[in-house]
């Protein structure tokens, strides 16, 4: 639930994107994208490859300027000092391999005017299990270590907004869990997290709200539960016999003795069960909300 002022302005929004359009040559990468991110929430940016997620993040960070539309952070247009309140973990990109880990942290922390850099660096290095590599050169780090170091650079200045582009890529399950725990901890402390990812199970576990882009356009936007509800229900069925023709369903995936039936959100599932029970032997009838993976595949496949 968002709080709106009499003028209609969302008082809790830290980021407001209003009809942002970005065109490269003749290709419209972002097409009138509009959304808000509220303070303290985990906001998921979803979409298939090439949907415009990274371009949107770069536009938010003022790396790209939008061709039209406005972006405001904390109610202000973008400026250099606003960058100090943002942490960013890019999907790609390497750090300067010739320098040391500690020197790298000092450099980036200095750019963000961090006080007590060495103490903070020690804390984060220990938390990301990189303490033993403090005096090593970056070229000596593995891909996963490099990724964790980049994460330290994104959070060393305690940003109010943390923007993560595919934060779990390149991490093993152990480090993925470590990073997830840290993100949940940061959310608990009030950090707003904007996360672009393809890992739908993580989206379901962590995100409060999501925005899904497809070909530069917003195709989904809102609270996770509401979106899942919007996309109907899924019935997992195990049976014996021959399935009858079913009315008022969205789709069915039948494999002989098991089927996945998607029904509308307001469908009468009890009536469906009765219909099925009259025709086949029902061994399992489980009603579930649709997974984000299913929703993603459905929307992205359109």
């Amino acid at each position: 639930m968002t709080e709106r002022s009499p003028a209609g302005k969302n008082e809790t929004a830290v980021l407001q994107i209003d009809h942002v359009t970005k065109v490269f040559d003749t290709k419209t990468v972002l097409d009138a994208v509009t959304f808000e991110v509220n303070k303290g929430e985990v906001f998921g940016l979803l979409g298939p490859n090439g949907a415009g997620k990274t371009t949107l993040i770069r536009t938010i960070l003022d790396i790209f300027r939008p061709d039209s539309g406005t972006i405001s952070l904390f109610g202000r247009t973008f400026s250099d000092d606003i960058k100090d309140a943002i942490g960013y973990l890019p999907e790609e990109g390497s750090l300067d391999k010739e320098i040391g880990v500690a020197e790298c942290i000092r450099y980036f922390a200095n750019l963000k005017h961090v006080q007590g850099i060495d103490e903070k660096a020690d804390v984060w290095l220990a938390r990301l299990t990189l303490a033993d590599y403090k005096d090593k050169k970056i070229q000596d780090l593995s891909k996963g270590m490099h990724r964790r170091l980049q994460f330290i650079l994104a959070v060393i200045h305690d940003p109010a907004v943390l923007i993560l582009d595919e934060p779990f890529s390149g991490l093993d399950p152990l480090n993925m869990k470590l990073l997830k725990d840290i993100l949940l901890d940061l959310r608990a402390k009030g950090t707003t997290i904007i996360m672009s990812t393809h890992q739908m199970d993580e989206v379901e576990r962590m995100c409060d709200r999501i925005l899904m882009l497809n070909s530069g356009k917003v195709v989904l936007y809102g609270k996770l539960d509401e979106i899942r509800q919007e996309f109907g229900l899924s019935v997992e069925l195990r049976y014996e016999g021959t399935l009858p023709h079913l009315d008022n369903i969205v789709s069915i995936s039948d494999s002989g003795n098991a089927a996945e039936i998607v029904v509308l959100k307001d469908a009468d599932t009890q009536a469906l069960l009765k219909t099925l029970a009259a025709q086949v032997t029902v061994k399992k009838f489980e009603i579930k909300q649709r997974s984000m993976n299913e929703i993603f595949l459905e929307v992205a496949g359109k």
Binding site: D62, I63, I86, Y88, P90, G93, L111, K112
Partner: protein, 400 residues
């Protein structure tokens, strides 16, 4: 400029000066030049020996030197100079009456080359060693004078027996060397800048950095950082050059050389030239998608910069030509080009020939007489440039 730009500048500076490439380049280039010079002097030793075998004349004001084989005494300077011009002797050493106290010698030669100057110096030491130390009653004072001679004042004479000016060689070497140092400094640091920006674009590190500071601060920091690198490199090169000059006979070339405060303008030209170049290169590298493409774009930029060099003979044959003035006005050319203002200012910084009284340093004739037969178009230059202008005109150079 913000604090972020300074943070970037400091980082780029410390990172670059620790690079093996920078250390090798900064120390290696002077060592290479030193090696080449040493080789030249070594191979020139044969020339030097041959030169030493040539006859040396002397004018002894002390009465201390005894006649010896290979050394010809002259009663006065005029006679010695006549013999020198006639080719009877290679070098004329003038030993003043107060030599043992002041240890100051004057050497006349007609060989204006670097080897000639250093060779003259060697010949003088040989001459003193052979003619003074063999004396039976050599005092401690005289021994010290020979063993620790101060650099002689070398005067190169022309065919008429008039001095070409002791600063002619230094006047050539100093501007040339300084121009080379400036150009190398600018190109080296600009190269680092281009490589750094190109690598950051390729590795997408630049994108990460842009989430920390603005593009303006990032580029400003890089440009300032590499400027500091370049200044350090130039300082080291100049320092090493001064050490080499002070510790070798080369000091003879620069003895008596006086530099005016105009040399300071060179620093201004360097800074402006560097900023112009580095900003151009930073923009080029920023627009190019990779280091390789940035290098190709840079080649085009350098071709534009070196346009006057391609057309060098045109402006040098006619200093009054408009193209000469135009090239000097083009920012990409003036800072480092030989005919550009930086070079000109270095030349201007060397004191003019007023110290020679009414004589033109090139021809030894009164100014007006020397320049009376100037071709059309040069008269104005003469009026504007005075005696130094006269010298420049005769060297086909315009320095004012």
């Amino acid at each position: 400029m913000t604090q972020k730009a300074l943070v970037v500048a400091k980082f780029e500076f410390t990172k670059t000066v620790r690079r093996k490439g920078f250390i090798l380049g900064t120390l290696g280039l002077p060592l290479l030049i030193l090696f080449i010079m040493g080789l030249t002097l070594y191979t020139g030793a044969g020339i030097g020996t041959a030169m030493e075998n040539q006859t040396t004349g002397y004018v002894d004001g002390t009465g201390f030197v005894e006649p010896a084989s290979g050394y010809v005494p002259y009663t006065d300077l005029a006679a010695g100079k006549s013999a020198l011009v006639a080719g009877e002797i290679h070098t004329l050493v003038v030993i003043p009456a107060d030599y043992l106290q002041n240890r100051t010698l004057t050497v006349y030669t007609m060989d204006a080359s670097l080897m000639g100057s250093t060779g003259s110096n060697t010949a003088v030491q040989e001459f003193l060693a052979q003619n003074v130390l063999r004396h039976e009653n050599v005092s401690e004072e005289a021994t010290q004078a020979v063993l620790s001679p101060s650099s002689p004042s070398v005067i190169v004479l022309d065919e008429s027996g008039n001095p070409k000016g002791s600063q002619e060689l230094a006047g050539f070497i100093l501007p040339f060397a300084m121009t080379m140092v400036l150009a190398l400094g600018i190109l080296t640091s600009s190269g680092y800048l281009m490589q750094g920006i190109g690598e950051e674009k390729e590795s997408r590190r630049g994108e990460f950095l842009l989430s920390y500071c603005s593009a303006e601060n990032l580029l400003a920091g890089k440009i300032i950082g590499y400027a500091a690198v370049s200044l350090l490199q130039m300082g080291l090169w100049i320092g090493m050059a001064l050490l080499v000059v002070a510790a070798t006979p080369l000091s003879a070339i620069f003895s008596g050389l006086q530099l005016s405060g105009l040399v300071g303008i060179a620093v201004v030209y360097f800074v402006l030239g560097y900023f112009l170049f580095s900003v151009s290169i930073a923009c080029t590298a920023s627009l190019a998608p990779s280091v390789r493409e940035a290098q190709q774009d840079l080649c085009d930029l350098l071709h534009v910069r070196s346009l006057p060099a391609h057309l060098l003979t045109v402006p040098s044959r006619g200093p009054e030509l408009a193209c000469h003035a135009v090239f000097n006005l083009l920012p990409l050319h003036c800072a480092v080009h030989r005919d550009g203002p930086a070079h000109a200012r270095f030349r201007a910084a060397i004191p003019d020939c007023d110290q020679y009284g009414d004589s033109c340093p090139l021809h030894g004739r009164p100014d007006k007489a020397c320049c009376q037969d100037l071709p059309d178009g040069y008269a104005d230059l003469w009026e504007a440039g005075g005696t130094r202008g006269c010298a420049a005109i005769y060297q086909d150079e315009v320095i004012f």
